[in-house]
Amino acid sequence: MKRKWKSGLILGLSLVLTIMLSACGASKGGTQADGSSAAGSKDVELLNVSYDPTRELYEAYNKAFAAHWEKEKGQKVTIKQSHGGSGKQSRSVQDGLDADVVTLALGYDIDALQDKGLVKEGWQDKYEHNSSPYTSTIVLLVRKGNPKGIKDWDDLVRGDVQVITPNPKTSGGARWNYLAAWAYALKKNNNDEAKAQQFVQELYKHVPVLDSGARGATTTFVERGIGDVLIAWENEALLSVKELGADKFDIVYPSISILAEPPVAIVDKVVDKKGTREVADAYLKYLYSEEGQTIAAENYYRPTLDSVKAKFKDQFPKMELVTLKDVFGTWKETQQKHFSDKGIFDQIYVPGS
C-alpha cells in the first residue's frame, strides 16, 4: 500500500516536472518580446519580419528610425529583424511569430496573412504606391563583355544560351522573373496568351538548374560558373556587381520588364495585442521619408520619392516597366493561373505538353 502511494507520487512529480519544462521552453521561445518591453515601461520593441535580400537595408534603416523616433517622441525603440524566404516568413507569422510589421517580396504572402485574419482587408491601399515604399525590377546579369551578346529577352531562348533562374514554386522572387518574361512576350505578340506561354516554356527549356531560392541561383551563376545569363532582381544584380567586382559581370537592361513591388503591412492582430500600432505605423511611414528613401536607394532598391529618385538617377536607368496590376491583375489570380499546382508553370514540365 505504502509503495503504491510512493510510486504514484513519483509519477505525479515527474509529470509536473515535464509540463514545467515544456512550459519553460515555450515561454523562452515565444514571448521574449513581451518580457523585455515590460522591463522598461517606456521602451518599445518591434519585430520586422522580412525576406532575405533586405537584411542590409533594414539594418541601416532600423538605426535611422530609432534615432528619428527618439527625437520625435523621446521613446526608445528597438527593432528586431527576421529574414528568410518570403513564403517561409509569411508562414512563420501565420503560425504565431509575433511580427508587428511584415515587409515581404510578394503581395501574395501578405494576402495569406489576411486570409488567416492577421492583417485587415485593404492593407495594400493603406500606404502609398500599393504599400510598396521602394521597388525593384528584373534585369539580366551576364558575364563580363557579354560573350553571348545578350541584349533582350529574345536572346535567352536562342541556340545554346543557358539561363539561370530559381524555381518560381519555391522562390517568391523567381515569380517576378517568370512574370517579367511573360509580360515581355505578351507585349511582343500583341497580347497573345498562347504565344506568351510558348515563349516562357521555351525559356525554361534553357534553364539547366532550378535552384530553390534566389541567393542559391546567384551562387550557381557566380561561383559555379554555370549558365550565360542570370535573371535577377536589380538590387541583387547591383549588389553582385559591387561585391564581386565590376570586372566580372555586366548588367543588361531588357527593353521591357516588370515593376517588382515588395509590399509592407502592419500585422493588425499583433500590434493590437501588444499595443504597438502607433510606432509600427510610424515605422512603415518613415520608409517613405527622404531619409528612408535614401537608405533604400543606397541598398539598390528603386526609391518612389521624386527628390531621391532624381539624386540616384544614374544608378537606376530608365526602363519601360509594367505593373502586376496592369498585366496580370491581383496576386491571387496570378498565383492561381501560373504557379498553383497544375498551373501553367507545372504544365511546362509535364511531358507531352
Partner: protein, 277 residues
C-alpha cells in the same frame, strides 16, 4: 504478500514507471507530431488526396528519391563494411582521427554538406572538372543526388557494423583456418553471416535517411522537375503555396512507402539473425 508477487513477476523493478515514461516521451516526440500530420491532410477528400499524391510530377519525384536513396545506401553498404573492417582489423597512424571523422556527416548541417559537395562536383569544381570532359555530369544530376546521400548515410553503416566486428570471436576464424579454410572461405562462411544483421540495419538506416534528406540535396540536384526533383522539395514547394493539405498528402505517401520498405528490411534482418545464431 502482494509485494513479493510483484517483484517475482519481473526481473527488473519499476516497469510501470519506465513504461509510462517511455510512452509519454514517445508520444510527445513521435506519435503526436505524426498524428498532427495525419490530421493536416484530412482537409482533403480521399480522391483529392490520391490525385495530389499520384500526380505525374510527384510520382517522378518519388522515383528519384527512392532510387537515389537505395543506390546510395547500397554503395554505403560496401563502403561502410570496408571502412569498418579497416578500422577494426588494422593499426595505422592517425586511426583515431580517421575514426572520429566518420561521425562528422552526423554533426554537419546538411545544407553545408550540400554546398561543399556542389562546389566540388560542379562543372568547374575540383572533381567535377575531371569528369566533365568524359561527358559525365556529376552535380545537377541523379549522380549528384546519390553522392550527397552517400555522404549523409555512410556513418550509419560503419557505426552499426563496427561494434559487431570488434566483438567477433577470433577463435572461430582460427578454427576455420585449422580446418583448412582459406581467407576468402573464412570470410564468406564464418564472418559474413554474423555481419549480415548489422549490415542490413545500417542499410535500412542509410536508406531511410536518404529518402527524407532535403538540405544537402537541393543544392546539388539542380531541382529539375521530372528529372532531379526529390519528393521533399515538392513538399516544400507546396508549403510555399500555403497548401498544407497537399504537402502532408505527399509526405504521408512518402511515409507509408518508407514504412513498408523498412518493415520488409526489418523482417529480412530478423529472419537472418535467427539463422545466424
Amino acid at each position: 504478500m502482494s509485494q513479493v508477487q510483484a517483484t517475482r513477476k519481473r526481473v527488473l523493478p519499476g516497469f510501470g514507471l519506465t513504461m509510462g515514461y517511455s510512452v509519454l516521451y514517445l508520444s510527445l516526440v513521435v506519435l503526436v507530431p505524426l498524428s498532427a500530420l495525419l490530421l493536416n491532410s484530412t482537409g482533403l477528400t480521399w480522391e483529392k488526396f490520391w490525385d495530389v499524391a499520384t500526380d505525374v510530377r510527384v510520382l517522378a519525384s518519388y522515383k528519384v528519391s527512392f532510387l537515389c536513396a537505395a543506390a546510395a545506401a547500397l554503395v554505403d553498404l560496401f563502403l561502410g563494411l570496408l571502412i569498418a573492417w579497416v578500422l577494426v582489423r588494422y593499426e595505422f597512424p592517425g586511426k583515431r582521427i580517421f575514426d572520429a571523422v566518420i561521425d562528422l556527416p552526423f554533426a554537419l548541417p546538411t545544407a553545408v554538406a550540400g554546398v561543399a559537395l556542389t562546389a566540388l562536383y560542379a562543372q568547374n569544381g575540383w572533381i567535377g572538372s575531371l569528369f566533365e570532359p568524359l561527358g559525365w555530369k556529376m552535380a545537377y544530376s541523379q549522380t549528384g543526388i546519390t553522392l550527397a546521400l552517400m555522404f549523409i548515410g555512410i556513418p550509419f553503416v560503419v557505426r552499426t557494423v563496427q561494434p559487431v566486428l570488434e566483438e567477433m570471436d577470433k577463435g572461430e576464424e582460427e578454427v576455420a583456418a585449422t580446418l583448412g579454410a582459406g581467407r576468402w572461405r573464412t570470410f564468406r562462411s564464418v564472418i559474413l553471416p554474423e555481419l549480415i544483421p548489422p549490415l542490413l540495419t545500417g542499410f535500412a538506416l542509410a536508406f531511410a535517411r536518404g529518402i527524407g534528406e532535403y538540405g544537402s540535396v537541393v543544392f546539388i540536384s539542380g531541382n529539375m522537375p521530372m528529372k532531379t526533383e526529390i519528393a521533399p522539395l515538392l513538399i516544400m514547394s507546396k508549403l510555399e503555396q500555403n497548401d498544407y493539405a497537399g504537402a502532408t498528402a505527399v509526405a504521408l505517401m512518402l511515409l507509408v512507402i518508407s514504412f513498408v520498405l523498412l518493415f520488409v528490411i526489418n523482417s529480412i534482418q530478423r529472419w537472418s539473425r535467427r539463422r545466424a545464431f
